[in-house]
């Protein structure tokens, strides 16, 4: 194993000082003096209604109110969205979820803004709501469809557009016929329905698959909506100056996406939009794309010269930013008597909410990963993204993987029990291995699930007896769950980086990748330092600023170490090239005879013959004149060979890798104790093994696993956004509980590097999201092990456990 000077080491976070001193500024911390106005948003109380009229005169006449905007204003912009343009910033003629923005007020104080909201009169005409994705998917008003290509788009070459002729039909449609909506070419809306994406996968022949099965299991699993609960609420500040330049300060995982969506939605060229990222107080996917930023822009455009500031309350963050979609998952799976899974038929009904501009892609990823990390020769998958009058579903850590693994990993245990095989052995039998064909027909490489299962098995003592219960009324259980995940991104998701040297030899690392807590700032600096051969203390990773930092697609998908890391690596090589070139000339040796280490360019055959990087970073003045110039390292990266999937079969087309540059595999084992009288589950220990290719920073990597486990545990035991006719009943921390320090188990974490990623920087994959994926099903399987009860709907509250236990006792089992 190669020894690196910083890669693999637990370098202290380079943003730690800012954060422990309070110096780090988050969006709401920014202050801009007296010409700052506060924003409050008037929101729909109805889950589904037509807006008949809006009268804002009362608000406009209130002293201290400077501007009011509604969806009818020209400044409000058009339809926008990442993968499907189905969303307006302020509702136009219709509201589709409780909390949807209807009007915005900018006023001198928050109090005046709040008063003004009360003076806005909105007339609604309530429409029937859709609250169930399974029923919602059945509505079909079968219109005539005409598909046409739209003009080439920057991102989605070959974006297409649906035009439909309406026809009569029954049932409520949220987005009538999806007429005129543009979407990415790999998204397939079904006009005349509430299905904004139908992902289909057909591998092999499902009927013959089931014919081979000795055991077939059919089960339905339920996943409720949950919310990211970043401790920093969403917020944004916009300034539109008198010359027409728009500046946005945002807590964002996607400054470039924010710029793009705003540019298109408000028709402003990108050179006139600048998105500046503050420190981000947690993202988890909820601050990807655009949620809050668009709300301030129309107000800013009405008030040139004013800083327009919006800070969402916790209650607003809960229900009006992204939530994680709900899911009804129907699985029918067959195994032969040797214990091999032969066929799986999966129907996924995603409760995707009122707008699915982002959710459509989770539907796709959930669909092509519906095998779980296992080899299944025959598959039939239908994954439906269904519009409902619920809060807007968006990406949350795992991007459909936690949701589908909740179902898949319990199904695995159910099958194993029917066969009489140990659940861990059953997973070993079926695990994807080198060369296994994925669900979309591509041979898998670096499929290291088996390594993680074996490591977890040993560490947790799977084959040894479980600990005894700590009291007679308690029961212990142990459960396993596995997972895999690939970054879900378009085949052309780009990263770029610039290394800008300063006169003293220090370096600014410029990238629009966001550090949302995962440690990207530090990891990217480590990659640069390692490649450049300079001390990491010399590198500052700047915060994203779209005017100055080069393009980064988004900080999502656990892709930054891999993708931005590659861009940084290339930028470092480019800079090293320039330094070695000048250095060799200064030292009077051939180019191939120098190297860089510890901040010096040195001659390979005489290490003391050297010149400091700082002395040549701006070029070098010789007797014969200057050589070199300020060093600027430039790097770009787009993953190679990513190809599409067939519209009807989901099988790879193009002879490439398919949609995924790599998969990360992991296994978790949960040891729990259950109080059989109260139903309370206490998780005593989680053993987690992940194969990550290359650990860039050991402590930071382990910290990601810790954080993911606790989010997974929290979602397993506590979390559900309770929705009643579209209205959230628990959109605050009083009644939406997340794990505290007193809920944490012992966490044994194993990081494996058995399969370095060939095109990853130093072999690195990604790990941030996989860490949350298997925790909930591992606990569910442990619960079954402890008490023989299986809970198929999250969360596994004490009340549900007790009820299930009593039901089991009543049945005399």
């Amino acid at each position: 194993m190669k020894e690196y000077s910083v890669i693999g080491h637990s370098v202290k976070r380079i943003d730690a000082r800012e954060k422990v001193t309070g110096a780090a500024k988050f969006v709401d911390d920014l202050q801009f003096g007296r010409r700052t106005l506060q924003v409050k948003i008037l929101r729909s109380p109805h889950p589904h209604a037509r807006i008949l009229s809006i009268d804002t005169t009362g608000a406009l006449n209130l002293p201290g109110v400077k501007a009011v905007v509604t969806g009818r204003d020209k400044e409000a912009g058009g339809k926008m969205g990442l993968y499907l343009a189905d969303r307006e910033v302020y509702a136009g003629d219709r509201v589709r979820f409780v909390g949807e923005p209807v009007a915005g007020v900018a006023a001198e104080t928050l109090q005046i803004a709040e008063e003004a909201l009360k003076l806005i009169r909105v007339e609604y005409d309530a429409l029937p709501g859709v609250f169930d994705p399974v029923a919602g998917a059945r509505i079909n008003n079968a219109p005539l469809v005409h598909e046409q290509p739209s003009p080439t788009d920057l991102w989605w070459q070959g974006m297409h557009c649906l035009t439909t002729k309406p026809s009569a039909g029954e049932g409520t449609l949220l987005h009538d016929y999806l007429s005129g909506y543009t979407c990415a070419p790999f998204i397939h809306p079904v006009p005349g329905t509430n299905i904004s994406n139908h992902f289909k996968l057909r591998k092999g022949d499902i009927a013959s698959g089931f014919a081979e099965a000795a055991v077939i299991e059919e089960n339905i699993f339920y996943v409720p909506h949950i919310q990211h609960c970043q401790i920093e609420n969403h917020g944004a500040i916009a300034l539109y100056d008198q010359a027409g330049n728009l500046t946005l300060w945002a807590s964002s995982q996607s400054p470039n996406a924010v710029r793009k969506i705003l540019s298109e939605g408000f028709n402003i060229p990108m050179t006139r939009i600048r998105v500046i990222s503050s420190y981000v107080g947690g993202g988890f996917g909820g601050k990807a794309g655009v949620t809050t930023e668009g709300l301030v822009v129309p107000l800013a455009m009405k008030l040139p010269g004013y800083h327009i500031k919006l800070a969402l309350t916790r209650e607003e963050t809960f229900q009006t930013t992204f939530v994680r979609q709900g899911l009804v998952a129907k699985l029918k799976t067959g195994v032969n008597k040797e214990g091999r899974i032969v066929a799986t038929e999966v129907e996924l009904f995603w409760d995707a909410g009122a707008y699915t501009e982002y959710g459509v892609n989770m539907t796709r990823s959930g669909g092509y990963c519906a095998s779980g990390p296992y080899l299944i020769p025959h598959m039939k998958v239908d994954s439906y993204c269904v519009y409902t009058n619920h809060p807007v579903g968006g990406p949350m850590r795992g991007f459909a993987m936690p949701e589908i693994h909740w179902a898949i990993e319990q199904q695995m245990d159910i099958l194993a029990e029917k066969l009489g095989i140990d659940p861990l052995e059953f997973r070993l039998i079926n695990a994807l291995r080198e060369g296994s064909l994925s669900s979309y027909g591509v041979p898998m490489h670096g499929a290291t699930l088996v390594d993680t299962i074996k490591a977890a098995r040993e560490k947790c003592g799977w084959d040894e007896p479980k600990p005894a219960p700590s009291a007679p009324h308690k029961a212990v259980g142990r459960g396993i769950a596995c997972m895999f995940k690939a970054p879900s991104m378009p085949p052309n998701a780009q990263s770029s980086a610039v290394l800008k040297f300063n006169e003293d030899g220090t370096v600014n690392l410029l990238t629009t990748a966001s550090d949302i807590g995962q440690g990207a700032m530090t990891a990217l600096a480590q990659i640069a330092a390692e490649e450049l051969g300079i001390p990491i203390e010399w590198i500052k990773t700047n915060l994203p600023d779209t005017d100055y930092t080069p393009y980064e697609w988004q900080t999502v998908a656990s892709r930054i170490s891999y993708s931005a890391g590659n861009a940084v690596l290339r930028a470092a090589r480019d800079a090293k090239d320039q330094l070695e070139d000048v250095g060799a000339k200064v030292l009077g040796v051939q180019r191939e005879e120098v190297a860089i280490a510890e901040g010096f360019v040195y001659a390979l055959n005489n290490h003391s013959h050297r010149i400091a990087v700082r002395d040549i970073a701006m070029g070098f003045l010789t007797e014969k004149g200057a050589i070199g110039a300020p060093v600027i390292g430039r790097g770009q990266f787009v993953p190679e060979g990513l190809t599409g999937l067939d519209k009807d079969t989901g099988q790879e087309v193009g002879g490439g890798k398919g949609p995924a540059p790599f998969y990360t595999y992991g296994t978790q084992v949960a040891d729990i104790e259950v109080d059989t009288l109260t139903g309370e589950i206490v998780v005593k220990r989680i053993t987690a093994a992940y194969e990550v290719g290359k650990v860039i920073n050991r402590e930071m990597c382990a910290a990601q696993v810790q954080g993911g486990i606790i989010q997974g545990l929290s979602s397993a035991l506590f979390e559900q956004l309770i929705l009643e006719n579209g209205k959230p009943l628990n959109n605050d921390f009083v009644d939406y509980k997340i794990a505290t320090a007193s809920d944490i188990p012992v966490m044994d974490i194993i990081l494996l590097e058995t399969s370095p990623q060939p095109d990853g920087p130093f072999g690195a994959k990604g790990v941030a999201e996989p860490t949350m994926v298997p925790t909930a099903p591992a606990i569910a399987n442990a619960l079954y092990d402890a008490l023989g009860i299986r809970i198929k709907d999250l969360p596994m509250t004490a009340e549900k456990v007790l009820a299930a236990l009593k039901e089991k006792e009543a049945l005399g089992c």
Binding site: E18, K19, T21, E232, I516
Partner: protein, 158 residues
């Protein structure tokens, strides 16, 4: 009708004389009037602890306190720790033990660590966990935070 009130409070060792409206929270006055933005508005309902400051040595949710009540009190915010480029031992421990990720809950957590060790210099792991249960963190999973606080306690025991 609302009469504002003149208050004097010591903040991070400095006397601050302010005139504030009674309907302003301590959190809002710290952040806006004194530009001490280390205490954060995570929920403004006393549930998340991101607004934690020490008042007369005791940790409180500053979002649940009216600023006018603070006349004559001694307040410590995160900005009052360390100084002149040096970090307080608790701050340093958080750095050394990777006890932070996004950093938003961090000021509150550090102040809780200080408050705990001031009243209980040798806490058990369970006591630390219980003490900080009113401080929510979504990033770290808490383990490294607990370790950092215990490390400071262990060092002080000699």
């Amino acid at each position: 009708m609302m009469t504002s009130k003149a208050i004097t409070m010591k903040v991070n060792g400095r006397d601050e004389r302010l005139t504030v409206d009674p309907n302003r929270t301590l959190l809002s006055v710290l952040r806006e009037d004194l530009e001490l933005t280390g205490a954060k508005p995570g929920c403004e309902a006393g549930e998340c602890g991101a607004c934690t400051v020490l008042v007369d040595g005791r940790p409180v949710n500053s979002c649940m306190i009216l600023a006018v009540e603070m006349d004559g009190t001694d307040i410590l915010t995160i900005e009052g720790l360390g100084g002149e480029g040096a970090l307080d031992e608790m701050q340093q421990a958080f750095v050394d033990h990777f006890a932070l990720q996004c950093g938003y809950c961090t000021p509150g957590m550090i102040l809780m660590g200080k408050a705990l060790l001031a009243e209980n210099p040798c806490p058990s792991e369970d006591e630390v966990k219980e003490f900080i249960s009113g401080n929510l963190c979504r990033c770290t999973g808490y383990e490294n935070i607990v370790r950092a606080i215990l490390a400071v306690a262990a060092r002080n025991r000699g």
